[in-house]
Symmetry: C2
Subunit: 297 residues, 2 copies
Protein backbone atom coordinates (compact mmCIF):
# COMPACT_ATOMS: atom_id res chain seq x y z
CA UNK A 1 0.00 0.00 0.00
CA UNK A 2 0.96 3.64 -0.47
CA UNK A 3 3.44 2.70 -3.18
CA UNK A 4 3.17 6.20 -4.67
CA UNK A 5 4.50 7.64 -1.41
CA UNK A 6 8.26 7.70 -0.89
CA UNK A 7 9.51 6.10 2.29
CA UNK A 8 10.15 8.70 4.96
CA UNK A 9 8.61 10.37 8.01
CA UNK A 10 5.38 11.47 6.28
CA UNK A 11 4.47 8.03 5.01
CA UNK A 12 5.55 6.48 8.31
CA UNK A 13 3.40 8.90 10.29
CA UNK A 14 0.31 7.98 8.24
CA UNK A 15 0.93 4.24 8.53
CA UNK A 16 1.69 4.50 12.25
CA UNK A 17 -1.51 6.45 12.91
CA UNK A 18 -3.68 4.01 10.99
CA UNK A 19 -2.01 1.13 12.78
CA UNK A 20 -2.71 2.65 16.19
CA UNK A 21 -6.42 3.43 15.64
CA UNK A 22 -7.13 0.02 14.10
CA UNK A 23 -5.30 -2.04 16.74
CA UNK A 24 -6.94 -2.92 20.08
CA UNK A 25 -5.38 -0.66 22.70
CA UNK A 26 -5.60 2.89 24.04
CA UNK A 27 -5.80 4.57 20.61
CA UNK A 28 -8.31 2.16 19.07
CA UNK A 29 -11.22 3.83 17.26
CA UNK A 30 -14.40 1.95 16.37
CA UNK A 31 -14.86 1.58 12.58
CA UNK A 32 -18.00 3.73 12.48
CA UNK A 33 -16.02 6.61 13.98
CA UNK A 34 -13.17 6.38 11.48
CA UNK A 35 -14.25 9.42 9.49
CA UNK A 36 -11.73 11.02 7.13
CA UNK A 37 -12.27 14.38 5.44
CA UNK A 38 -10.40 15.59 2.37
CA UNK A 39 -10.34 19.06 0.90
CA UNK A 40 -10.46 18.89 -2.91
CA UNK A 41 -8.82 21.88 -4.69
CA UNK A 42 -5.07 21.55 -4.16
CA UNK A 43 -5.52 18.47 -1.96
CA UNK A 44 -7.10 15.88 -4.28
CA UNK A 45 -6.83 17.67 -7.62
CA UNK A 46 -4.71 20.42 -9.14
CA UNK A 47 -5.98 23.96 -8.50
CA UNK A 48 -3.47 25.85 -10.66
CA UNK A 49 -3.23 27.97 -12.75
CA UNK A 50 -6.88 28.40 -11.64
CA UNK A 51 -9.61 26.39 -9.95
CA UNK A 52 -11.07 23.91 -12.42
CA UNK A 53 -14.51 25.18 -11.46
CA UNK A 54 -13.47 28.68 -12.53
CA UNK A 55 -12.83 27.34 -16.02
CA UNK A 56 -16.32 25.82 -16.00
CA UNK A 57 -17.79 29.12 -14.85
CA UNK A 58 -15.70 31.35 -17.13
CA UNK A 59 -16.82 29.45 -20.20
CA UNK A 60 -20.43 30.00 -19.19
CA UNK A 61 -19.90 33.69 -18.32
CA UNK A 62 -18.11 34.21 -21.64
CA UNK A 63 -21.04 32.63 -23.45
CA UNK A 64 -23.45 34.88 -21.57
CA UNK A 65 -21.29 37.93 -22.45
CA UNK A 66 -21.23 36.92 -26.12
CA UNK A 67 -25.03 36.76 -26.08
CA UNK A 68 -25.56 40.06 -24.24
CA UNK A 69 -23.30 43.13 -24.85
CA UNK A 70 -24.59 44.84 -21.69
CA UNK A 71 -23.19 41.97 -19.65
CA UNK A 72 -19.93 41.99 -21.62
CA UNK A 73 -19.04 45.44 -20.28
CA UNK A 74 -19.26 44.34 -16.63
CA UNK A 75 -17.26 42.10 -14.33
CA UNK A 76 -17.00 39.19 -14.07
CA UNK A 77 -18.25 38.83 -17.66
CA UNK A 78 -15.55 41.11 -19.13
CA UNK A 79 -12.77 39.10 -17.50
CA UNK A 80 -14.37 35.85 -18.61
CA UNK A 81 -14.78 37.04 -22.19
CA UNK A 82 -11.14 38.11 -22.44
CA UNK A 83 -9.84 35.02 -20.64
CA UNK A 84 -8.41 37.21 -17.88
CA UNK A 85 -7.68 34.44 -15.40
CA UNK A 86 -5.67 36.81 -13.23
CA UNK A 87 -8.78 38.82 -12.32
CA UNK A 88 -10.47 35.64 -11.08
CA UNK A 89 -7.42 34.31 -9.29
CA UNK A 90 -6.90 37.66 -7.55
CA UNK A 91 -10.49 37.73 -6.33
CA UNK A 92 -10.05 34.37 -4.62
CA UNK A 93 -6.57 35.06 -3.28
CA UNK A 94 -7.81 38.34 -1.79
CA UNK A 95 -10.63 36.39 -0.12
CA UNK A 96 -8.11 34.15 1.62
CA UNK A 97 -6.26 37.29 2.67
CA UNK A 98 -9.37 38.83 4.17
CA UNK A 99 -10.63 41.10 1.35
CA UNK A 100 -13.96 39.93 -0.08
CA UNK A 101 -14.74 42.91 -2.37
CA UNK A 102 -13.95 41.29 -5.70
CA UNK A 103 -15.20 37.91 -4.58
CA UNK A 104 -18.64 39.44 -4.12
CA UNK A 105 -18.69 40.73 -7.71
CA UNK A 106 -17.50 37.35 -8.84
CA UNK A 107 -20.08 35.56 -6.70
CA UNK A 108 -22.99 37.43 -8.24
CA UNK A 109 -21.96 36.24 -11.68
CA UNK A 110 -21.21 32.74 -10.49
CA UNK A 111 -24.48 32.36 -8.64
CA UNK A 112 -26.60 33.18 -11.66
CA UNK A 113 -24.40 31.40 -14.22
CA UNK A 114 -26.27 28.11 -14.02
CA UNK A 115 -29.52 29.18 -12.35
CA UNK A 116 -32.93 28.01 -13.49
CA UNK A 117 -32.07 24.47 -14.58
CA UNK A 118 -32.80 21.11 -12.95
CA UNK A 119 -30.05 19.51 -10.87
CA UNK A 120 -29.93 16.71 -13.44
CA UNK A 121 -29.36 19.23 -16.28
CA UNK A 122 -26.66 20.90 -14.19
CA UNK A 123 -24.96 17.53 -13.69
CA UNK A 124 -25.12 16.89 -17.44
CA UNK A 125 -23.36 20.19 -18.13
CA UNK A 126 -20.63 19.36 -15.63
CA UNK A 127 -20.20 15.93 -17.18
CA UNK A 128 -19.93 17.45 -20.66
CA UNK A 129 -17.32 19.96 -19.44
CA UNK A 130 -15.11 17.24 -17.99
CA UNK A 131 -15.48 15.14 -21.13
CA UNK A 132 -14.36 18.02 -23.36
CA UNK A 133 -11.92 20.28 -21.56
CA UNK A 134 -8.23 19.70 -20.91
CA UNK A 135 -5.95 21.32 -18.36
CA UNK A 136 -4.39 24.44 -19.95
CA UNK A 137 -0.72 23.52 -19.28
CA UNK A 138 -0.40 19.95 -17.99
CA UNK A 139 -1.30 18.23 -21.27
CA UNK A 140 -3.96 16.05 -19.72
CA UNK A 141 -7.71 16.14 -19.22
CA UNK A 142 -9.03 17.57 -15.98
CA UNK A 143 -10.20 14.12 -14.95
CA UNK A 144 -6.53 13.08 -15.00
CA UNK A 145 -5.53 15.94 -12.67
CA UNK A 146 -6.18 14.04 -9.45
CA UNK A 147 -3.13 13.30 -7.32
CA UNK A 148 -2.43 9.56 -7.39
CA UNK A 149 -0.81 9.44 -3.91
CA UNK A 150 -3.94 11.04 -2.42
CA UNK A 151 -6.31 8.73 -4.29
CA UNK A 152 -4.18 5.87 -3.03
CA UNK A 153 -4.49 7.30 0.48
CA UNK A 154 -8.32 7.28 0.16
CA UNK A 155 -8.16 3.57 -0.71
CA UNK A 156 -5.66 2.85 2.07
CA UNK A 157 -7.92 4.46 4.65
CA UNK A 158 -10.99 2.67 3.27
CA UNK A 159 -9.15 -0.65 3.43
CA UNK A 160 -8.76 0.15 7.14
CA UNK A 161 -12.52 0.74 7.54
CA UNK A 162 -12.37 4.53 7.34
CA UNK A 163 -15.22 6.33 5.59
CA UNK A 164 -13.85 9.15 3.44
CA UNK A 165 -15.66 12.38 2.60
CA UNK A 166 -14.67 15.23 0.33
CA UNK A 167 -15.16 18.57 2.12
CA UNK A 168 -14.36 21.34 -0.30
CA UNK A 169 -14.92 25.02 -0.89
CA UNK A 170 -15.72 23.97 -4.45
CA UNK A 171 -19.29 23.45 -5.56
CA UNK A 172 -21.03 20.37 -4.20
CA UNK A 173 -22.85 19.84 -7.48
CA UNK A 174 -19.78 20.65 -9.57
CA UNK A 175 -17.77 17.86 -7.93
CA UNK A 176 -20.39 15.17 -7.62
CA UNK A 177 -20.63 14.11 -11.27
CA UNK A 178 -16.89 13.22 -11.33
CA UNK A 179 -15.86 12.23 -7.81
CA UNK A 180 -16.94 8.61 -8.16
CA UNK A 181 -14.94 8.12 -11.34
CA UNK A 182 -11.88 10.10 -10.24
CA UNK A 183 -11.71 9.22 -6.55
CA UNK A 184 -14.19 6.44 -5.86
CA UNK A 185 -16.17 8.82 -3.66
CA UNK A 186 -19.95 8.69 -4.24
CA UNK A 187 -22.15 11.84 -4.25
CA UNK A 188 -23.47 11.28 -0.73
CA UNK A 189 -19.93 11.74 0.57
CA UNK A 190 -19.24 15.02 -1.25
CA UNK A 191 -19.68 18.14 0.89
CA UNK A 192 -19.19 21.44 -0.86
CA UNK A 193 -20.37 24.97 -1.38
CA UNK A 194 -23.91 25.20 -2.65
CA UNK A 195 -26.26 27.47 -4.47
CA UNK A 196 -29.84 27.07 -3.33
CA UNK A 197 -32.11 24.64 -5.13
CA UNK A 198 -35.88 24.81 -4.99
CA UNK A 199 -38.61 22.24 -5.47
CA UNK A 200 -40.85 22.96 -8.48
CA UNK A 201 -43.18 20.64 -10.39
CA UNK A 202 -41.62 17.50 -8.99
CA UNK A 203 -38.04 18.59 -9.74
CA UNK A 204 -35.21 20.41 -8.01
CA UNK A 205 -34.21 23.57 -9.87
CA UNK A 206 -31.11 25.71 -9.30
CA UNK A 207 -31.53 29.28 -8.05
CA UNK A 208 -29.13 32.24 -7.85
CA UNK A 209 -29.29 32.32 -4.05
CA UNK A 210 -26.11 31.50 -2.14
CA UNK A 211 -26.54 28.75 0.43
CA UNK A 212 -23.18 27.72 1.92
CA UNK A 213 -19.65 28.89 1.17
CA UNK A 214 -18.05 25.75 2.54
CA UNK A 215 -14.76 27.21 3.65
CA UNK A 216 -12.94 27.97 6.89
CA UNK A 217 -15.21 27.71 9.96
CA UNK A 218 -18.12 26.54 7.81
CA UNK A 219 -16.35 23.26 7.00
CA UNK A 220 -16.72 21.74 10.50
CA UNK A 221 -20.38 22.80 10.56
CA UNK A 222 -21.12 21.10 7.28
CA UNK A 223 -19.13 18.00 8.30
CA UNK A 224 -21.35 17.74 11.37
CA UNK A 225 -24.47 18.20 9.29
CA UNK A 226 -23.43 15.46 6.90
CA UNK A 227 -21.94 12.93 9.29
CA UNK A 228 -22.95 13.70 12.88
CA UNK A 229 -19.41 12.71 13.84
CA UNK A 230 -16.04 14.34 14.49
CA UNK A 231 -13.39 13.32 11.94
CA UNK A 232 -10.32 11.30 12.90
CA UNK A 233 -8.32 12.23 9.81
CA UNK A 234 -8.21 15.44 7.78
CA UNK A 235 -6.25 16.43 4.70
CA UNK A 236 -6.05 19.95 3.31
CA UNK A 237 -3.68 22.43 1.74
CA UNK A 238 -4.86 25.99 2.39
CA UNK A 239 -5.89 28.52 5.00
CA UNK A 240 -9.49 27.53 4.28
CA UNK A 241 -8.78 24.12 5.80
CA UNK A 242 -7.52 25.33 9.18
CA UNK A 243 -10.77 25.00 11.11
CA UNK A 244 -11.44 21.57 9.60
CA UNK A 245 -8.01 20.53 10.86
CA UNK A 246 -8.68 22.00 14.30
CA UNK A 247 -12.01 20.19 14.53
CA UNK A 248 -10.37 16.87 13.66
CA UNK A 249 -9.06 14.80 16.55
CA UNK A 250 -6.43 12.50 15.15
CA UNK A 251 -4.27 12.92 12.08
CA UNK A 252 -3.90 16.18 10.15
CA UNK A 253 -2.15 16.16 6.77
CA UNK A 254 -1.24 19.35 4.93
CA UNK A 255 -0.24 19.05 1.27
CA UNK A 256 2.64 21.42 0.48
CA UNK A 257 2.86 22.58 -3.14
CA UNK A 258 6.64 22.71 -3.52
CA UNK A 259 7.03 20.90 -6.82
CA UNK A 260 7.38 23.35 -9.71
CA UNK A 261 8.70 20.60 -11.97
CA UNK A 262 5.83 18.14 -11.73
CA UNK A 263 2.99 20.47 -10.63
CA UNK A 264 3.16 24.02 -9.26
CA UNK A 265 5.07 25.64 -6.39
CA UNK A 266 3.10 28.19 -4.35
CA UNK A 267 2.27 29.18 -0.81
CA UNK A 268 -0.20 32.02 -1.49
CA UNK A 269 -3.41 31.28 0.40
CA UNK A 270 -1.61 28.65 2.51
CA UNK A 271 0.71 30.89 4.54
CA UNK A 272 -1.18 30.57 7.80
CA UNK A 273 -1.87 26.87 7.36
CA UNK A 274 1.83 26.13 6.80
CA UNK A 275 2.75 28.07 9.95
CA UNK A 276 0.09 26.25 11.95
CA UNK A 277 1.27 22.87 10.70
CA UNK A 278 4.55 23.64 12.44
CA UNK A 279 3.06 25.03 15.65
CA UNK A 280 0.30 22.41 15.94
CA UNK A 281 2.28 19.38 14.85
CA UNK A 282 0.31 18.65 11.70
CA UNK A 283 2.05 16.39 9.18
CA UNK A 284 3.22 18.15 6.01
CA UNK A 285 3.29 16.19 2.76
CA UNK A 286 5.87 17.67 0.42
CA UNK A 287 4.81 16.96 -3.13
CA UNK A 288 8.45 17.06 -4.20
CA UNK A 289 9.88 14.79 -1.52
CA UNK A 290 7.02 12.58 -0.38
CA UNK A 291 5.27 11.72 -3.62
CA UNK A 292 6.80 9.18 -6.02
CA UNK A 293 4.24 10.19 -8.63
CA UNK A 294 1.92 13.19 -8.83
CA UNK A 295 -0.55 12.43 -11.64
CA UNK A 296 -1.75 9.23 -13.28
CA UNK A 297 0.56 8.15 -16.10
Amino acid sequence: MLKHWNDGPTKSAIVDFVGRVTTPGPDFVAPQDRIAVFDNDGTLWCEKPAYIQLDFLMRRLAAQAAADPALAARQPYAAAASGDLDWFGAAVTKHYQGDDSELKVLATGILSAYSGITVEEHAARVTAFFAEVRHPTLDRSYTECGYVPMIELLRYLESNAFTCYIVSGGGRDFMRPVTDGMYGIPPERVVGSSVGVTFADGNLVTTAQPEFLNDGPVKPVRIWDRTGRRPMFAAGNSNGDIEMMQYTKGFRLLVWHDDADREFAYEAGAEKALKMAESEGWTVASMRSDWAEVFPR
Copy 2:
Protein backbone atom coordinates in the same frame (compact mmCIF):
# COMPACT_ATOMS: atom_id res chain seq x y z
CA MET B 1 -39.46 -11.16 5.74
CA LEU B 2 -42.12 -8.57 6.62
CA LYS B 3 -43.69 -10.98 9.10
CA HIS B 4 -45.18 -8.04 11.05
CA TRP B 5 -47.16 -7.08 7.95
CA ASN B 6 -50.45 -8.87 7.31
CA ASP B 7 -50.86 -10.47 3.90
CA GLY B 8 -52.80 -8.21 1.56
CA PRO B 9 -52.43 -5.63 -1.20
CA THR B 10 -50.14 -3.28 0.78
CA LYS B 11 -47.55 -5.92 1.63
CA SER B 12 -47.84 -7.37 -1.89
CA ALA B 13 -47.27 -3.96 -3.45
CA ILE B 14 -44.06 -3.45 -1.44
CA VAL B 15 -42.73 -6.91 -2.24
CA ASP B 16 -43.64 -6.59 -5.91
CA PHE B 17 -41.88 -3.22 -6.20
CA VAL B 18 -38.71 -4.45 -4.53
CA GLY B 19 -38.75 -7.52 -6.74
CA ARG B 20 -39.04 -5.42 -9.89
CA VAL B 21 -36.22 -2.96 -9.12
CA THR B 22 -33.84 -5.72 -8.01
CA THR B 23 -34.46 -8.07 -10.96
CA PRO B 24 -32.72 -7.55 -14.32
CA GLY B 25 -35.28 -6.06 -16.68
CA PRO B 26 -36.94 -2.77 -17.54
CA ASP B 27 -37.50 -1.66 -13.93
CA PHE B 28 -34.07 -2.65 -12.60
CA VAL B 29 -32.35 0.02 -10.50
CA ALA B 30 -28.61 -0.10 -9.75
CA PRO B 31 -27.90 -0.68 -6.04
CA GLN B 32 -26.27 2.75 -5.55
CA ASP B 33 -29.49 4.40 -6.75
CA ARG B 34 -31.75 2.43 -4.39
CA ILE B 35 -32.29 5.30 -1.98
CA ALA B 36 -35.18 5.10 0.47
CA VAL B 37 -36.35 8.01 2.61
CA PHE B 38 -38.46 7.71 5.74
CA ASP B 39 -40.20 10.44 7.65
CA ASN B 40 -39.91 9.87 11.41
CA ASP B 41 -42.76 11.36 13.50
CA GLY B 42 -45.85 9.25 12.80
CA THR B 43 -43.97 7.15 10.23
CA LEU B 44 -41.23 5.44 12.25
CA TRP B 45 -42.23 6.38 15.79
CA CYS B 46 -45.40 7.48 17.58
CA GLU B 47 -46.12 11.22 17.42
CA LYS B 48 -49.16 11.30 19.75
CA PRO B 49 -50.37 12.73 22.08
CA ALA B 50 -47.48 15.07 21.16
CA TYR B 51 -44.17 14.95 19.31
CA ILE B 52 -41.56 13.25 21.49
CA GLN B 53 -39.28 16.20 20.83
CA LEU B 54 -41.91 18.54 22.32
CA ASP B 55 -41.65 16.61 25.56
CA PHE B 56 -37.86 17.08 25.48
CA LEU B 57 -38.30 20.78 24.80
CA MET B 58 -41.15 21.34 27.28
CA ARG B 59 -39.09 19.87 30.11
CA ARG B 60 -36.30 22.30 29.31
CA LEU B 61 -38.65 25.29 28.92
CA ALA B 62 -40.34 24.40 32.23
CA ALA B 63 -36.93 24.29 33.92
CA GLN B 64 -36.07 27.67 32.41
CA ALA B 65 -39.44 29.08 33.62
CA ALA B 66 -38.83 27.71 37.11
CA ALA B 67 -35.48 29.48 37.19
CA ASP B 68 -36.76 32.82 35.83
CA PRO B 69 -40.25 34.21 36.77
CA ALA B 70 -40.10 36.74 33.91
CA LEU B 71 -39.95 33.85 31.46
CA ALA B 72 -42.69 31.98 33.30
CA ALA B 73 -45.26 34.66 32.39
CA ARG B 74 -44.63 34.30 28.64
CA GLN B 75 -45.31 31.67 25.99
CA PRO B 76 -44.09 29.10 25.35
CA TYR B 77 -42.70 28.94 28.90
CA ALA B 78 -46.12 29.32 30.55
CA ALA B 79 -47.57 26.43 28.57
CA ALA B 80 -44.51 24.31 29.31
CA ALA B 81 -44.62 25.07 33.05
CA SER B 82 -48.30 24.12 33.29
CA GLY B 83 -47.92 21.06 31.05
CA ASP B 84 -50.37 22.57 28.56
CA LEU B 85 -49.68 20.17 25.71
CA ASP B 86 -52.69 21.47 23.79
CA TRP B 87 -51.05 24.86 23.27
CA PHE B 88 -48.03 23.17 21.69
CA GLY B 89 -50.08 20.75 19.64
CA ALA B 90 -52.27 23.55 18.34
CA ALA B 91 -49.25 25.58 17.27
CA VAL B 92 -48.00 22.71 15.11
CA THR B 93 -51.40 21.71 13.76
CA LYS B 94 -52.03 25.34 12.74
CA HIS B 95 -48.69 25.31 10.92
CA TYR B 96 -49.80 22.36 8.84
CA GLN B 97 -53.03 24.24 8.13
CA GLY B 98 -51.15 27.33 6.96
CA ASP B 99 -51.10 29.53 10.09
CA ASP B 100 -47.60 30.04 11.48
CA SER B 101 -48.34 32.67 14.15
CA GLU B 102 -48.08 30.45 17.22
CA LEU B 103 -45.34 28.33 15.71
CA LYS B 104 -43.17 31.45 15.58
CA VAL B 105 -43.63 32.11 19.28
CA LEU B 106 -42.91 28.46 19.93
CA ALA B 107 -39.87 28.51 17.66
CA THR B 108 -38.24 31.37 19.54
CA GLY B 109 -38.41 29.39 22.76
CA ILE B 110 -37.34 26.16 21.09
CA LEU B 111 -34.40 27.72 19.31
CA SER B 112 -32.88 29.10 22.47
CA ALA B 113 -33.77 26.14 24.71
CA TYR B 114 -30.52 24.29 24.16
CA SER B 115 -28.32 27.05 22.75
CA GLY B 116 -24.75 27.63 23.84
CA ILE B 117 -23.65 24.05 24.44
CA THR B 118 -21.41 21.76 22.41
CA VAL B 119 -23.04 19.28 20.05
CA GLU B 120 -21.64 16.51 22.25
CA GLU B 121 -23.30 17.98 25.36
CA HIS B 122 -26.54 18.32 23.41
CA ALA B 123 -26.34 14.66 22.42
CA ALA B 124 -25.74 13.71 26.06
CA ARG B 125 -28.90 15.56 27.11
CA VAL B 126 -30.91 13.78 24.42
CA THR B 127 -29.51 10.44 25.50
CA ALA B 128 -30.39 11.16 29.14
CA PHE B 129 -33.94 12.14 28.14
CA PHE B 130 -34.53 8.89 26.29
CA ALA B 131 -33.04 6.89 29.15
CA GLU B 132 -35.36 8.49 31.69
CA VAL B 133 -38.68 9.41 30.12
CA ARG B 134 -41.58 7.13 29.28
CA HIS B 135 -44.48 7.69 26.87
CA PRO B 136 -47.34 9.36 28.78
CA THR B 137 -50.04 6.81 27.88
CA LEU B 138 -48.57 3.77 26.13
CA ASP B 139 -46.81 2.32 29.20
CA ARG B 140 -43.46 2.01 27.45
CA SER B 141 -40.30 4.05 27.12
CA TYR B 142 -40.00 6.36 24.13
CA THR B 143 -37.28 4.12 22.70
CA GLU B 144 -39.92 1.38 22.49
CA CYS B 145 -42.31 3.62 20.53
CA GLY B 146 -40.90 2.74 17.11
CA TYR B 147 -43.24 0.83 14.79
CA VAL B 148 -41.95 -2.72 14.35
CA PRO B 149 -43.42 -3.18 10.83
CA MET B 150 -41.57 -0.05 9.68
CA ILE B 151 -38.29 -1.08 11.31
CA GLU B 152 -38.72 -4.44 9.62
CA LEU B 153 -39.30 -2.59 6.34
CA LEU B 154 -35.99 -0.73 6.78
CA ARG B 155 -34.22 -4.09 7.17
CA TYR B 156 -36.11 -5.60 4.23
CA LEU B 157 -35.06 -2.74 1.96
CA GLU B 158 -31.45 -2.91 3.19
CA SER B 159 -31.38 -6.65 2.54
CA ASN B 160 -32.25 -5.68 -1.04
CA ALA B 161 -29.31 -3.22 -1.23
CA PHE B 162 -31.36 -0.09 -0.55
CA THR B 163 -29.75 2.66 1.52
CA CYS B 164 -32.28 4.09 3.97
CA TYR B 165 -32.32 7.65 5.27
CA ILE B 166 -34.54 9.30 7.86
CA VAL B 167 -35.86 12.62 6.53
CA SER B 168 -37.86 14.27 9.27
CA GLY B 169 -39.23 17.61 10.34
CA GLY B 170 -37.88 16.67 13.76
CA GLY B 171 -34.50 17.88 14.93
CA ARG B 172 -31.50 16.32 13.24
CA ASP B 173 -29.53 16.35 16.48
CA PHE B 174 -32.52 15.23 18.56
CA MET B 175 -32.92 12.05 16.50
CA ARG B 176 -29.29 11.11 15.93
CA PRO B 177 -28.43 9.86 19.41
CA VAL B 178 -31.18 7.19 19.24
CA THR B 179 -31.71 6.29 15.58
CA ASP B 180 -28.95 3.70 15.49
CA GLY B 181 -30.31 1.86 18.52
CA MET B 182 -33.98 2.14 17.59
CA TYR B 183 -33.82 1.81 13.81
CA GLY B 184 -30.31 0.76 12.85
CA ILE B 185 -29.87 4.07 11.04
CA PRO B 186 -26.51 5.79 11.74
CA PRO B 187 -26.21 9.58 12.22
CA GLU B 188 -24.91 10.23 8.70
CA ARG B 189 -28.25 9.00 7.36
CA VAL B 190 -30.43 11.21 9.55
CA VAL B 191 -31.70 14.38 7.85
CA GLY B 192 -33.73 16.73 10.03
CA SER B 193 -34.48 20.27 11.02
CA SER B 194 -31.50 22.09 12.43
CA VAL B 195 -30.55 24.97 14.62
CA GLY B 196 -27.30 26.59 13.55
CA VAL B 197 -24.06 25.43 15.10
CA THR B 198 -20.91 27.49 15.11
CA PHE B 199 -17.22 26.62 15.35
CA ALA B 200 -15.54 27.96 18.50
CA ASP B 201 -12.30 26.92 20.19
CA GLY B 202 -12.13 23.63 18.33
CA ASN B 203 -15.72 22.66 19.09
CA LEU B 204 -19.14 23.01 17.52
CA VAL B 205 -21.53 24.98 19.73
CA THR B 206 -25.30 25.30 19.34
CA THR B 207 -26.79 28.73 18.56
CA ALA B 208 -30.36 30.07 18.68
CA GLN B 209 -30.39 30.71 14.92
CA PRO B 210 -32.79 28.65 12.81
CA GLU B 211 -31.13 26.84 9.93
CA PHE B 212 -33.56 24.46 8.20
CA LEU B 213 -37.16 23.56 8.97
CA ASN B 214 -37.01 20.26 7.14
CA ASP B 215 -40.63 20.00 6.12
CA GLY B 216 -42.70 20.14 2.94
CA PRO B 217 -40.72 21.45 -0.06
CA VAL B 218 -37.53 21.64 2.03
CA LYS B 219 -37.37 17.85 2.34
CA PRO B 220 -36.42 17.19 -1.31
CA VAL B 221 -33.81 19.97 -1.11
CA ARG B 222 -32.18 18.45 1.96
CA ILE B 223 -32.37 14.94 0.47
CA TRP B 224 -30.43 16.24 -2.53
CA ASP B 225 -27.89 17.93 -0.28
CA ARG B 226 -27.34 14.75 1.70
CA THR B 227 -27.42 12.16 -1.07
CA GLY B 228 -27.07 13.78 -4.48
CA ARG B 229 -29.66 11.28 -5.70
CA ARG B 230 -33.42 11.06 -6.25
CA PRO B 231 -35.08 8.51 -3.94
CA MET B 232 -36.74 5.36 -5.26
CA PHE B 233 -38.82 4.75 -2.14
CA ALA B 234 -40.47 7.18 0.28
CA ALA B 235 -42.56 6.63 3.39
CA GLY B 236 -44.45 9.37 5.22
CA ASN B 237 -47.69 10.07 7.01
CA SER B 238 -48.50 13.78 6.87
CA ASN B 239 -48.99 16.81 4.65
CA GLY B 240 -45.36 17.68 5.35
CA ASP B 241 -44.30 14.61 3.37
CA ILE B 242 -46.13 15.43 0.14
CA GLU B 243 -43.21 17.05 -1.70
CA MET B 244 -40.85 14.26 -0.63
CA MET B 245 -43.33 11.81 -2.12
CA GLN B 246 -43.61 13.85 -5.31
CA TYR B 247 -39.83 14.02 -5.68
CA THR B 248 -39.54 10.24 -5.30
CA LYS B 249 -39.74 8.19 -8.48
CA GLY B 250 -40.78 4.71 -7.46
CA PHE B 251 -42.74 3.58 -4.44
CA ARG B 252 -44.64 5.94 -2.12
CA LEU B 253 -46.02 4.60 1.16
CA LEU B 254 -48.35 6.63 3.37
CA VAL B 255 -48.92 5.40 6.93
CA TRP B 256 -52.57 5.87 7.92
CA HIS B 257 -53.24 6.27 11.63
CA ASP B 258 -56.55 4.42 11.89
CA ASP B 259 -55.85 2.25 14.91
CA ALA B 260 -57.28 3.80 18.08
CA ASP B 261 -56.96 0.49 19.94
CA ARG B 262 -53.25 -0.13 19.48
CA GLU B 263 -52.01 3.44 18.78
CA PHE B 264 -54.01 6.57 17.87
CA ALA B 265 -56.57 7.35 15.18
CA TYR B 266 -56.24 10.77 13.55
CA GLU B 267 -56.16 12.51 10.19
CA ALA B 268 -55.42 16.08 11.33
CA GLY B 269 -52.36 17.32 9.46
CA ALA B 270 -52.65 14.44 6.97
CA GLU B 271 -55.86 15.42 5.19
CA LYS B 272 -54.20 16.54 1.97
CA ALA B 273 -51.70 13.66 1.94
CA LEU B 274 -54.50 11.08 2.29
CA LYS B 275 -56.39 12.68 -0.60
CA MET B 276 -53.26 12.74 -2.74
CA ALA B 277 -52.51 9.10 -1.98
CA GLU B 278 -55.79 8.31 -3.70
CA SER B 279 -55.34 10.66 -6.67
CA GLU B 280 -51.64 9.87 -7.19
CA GLY B 281 -51.78 6.15 -6.58
CA TRP B 282 -49.58 6.10 -3.48
CA THR B 283 -49.86 2.99 -1.34
CA VAL B 284 -51.63 3.48 1.99
CA ALA B 285 -50.58 1.36 4.96
CA SER B 286 -53.47 1.01 7.37
CA MET B 287 -52.07 0.48 10.85
CA ARG B 288 -55.21 -1.40 11.79
CA SER B 289 -55.40 -3.72 8.80
CA ASP B 290 -51.86 -4.01 7.47
CA TRP B 291 -49.80 -4.29 10.64
CA ALA B 292 -49.76 -7.52 12.63
CA GLU B 293 -47.98 -5.70 15.45
CA VAL B 294 -47.48 -2.00 16.10
CA PHE B 295 -44.85 -1.75 18.87
CA PRO B 296 -42.15 -4.09 20.12
CA ARG B 297 -43.51 -6.56 22.68
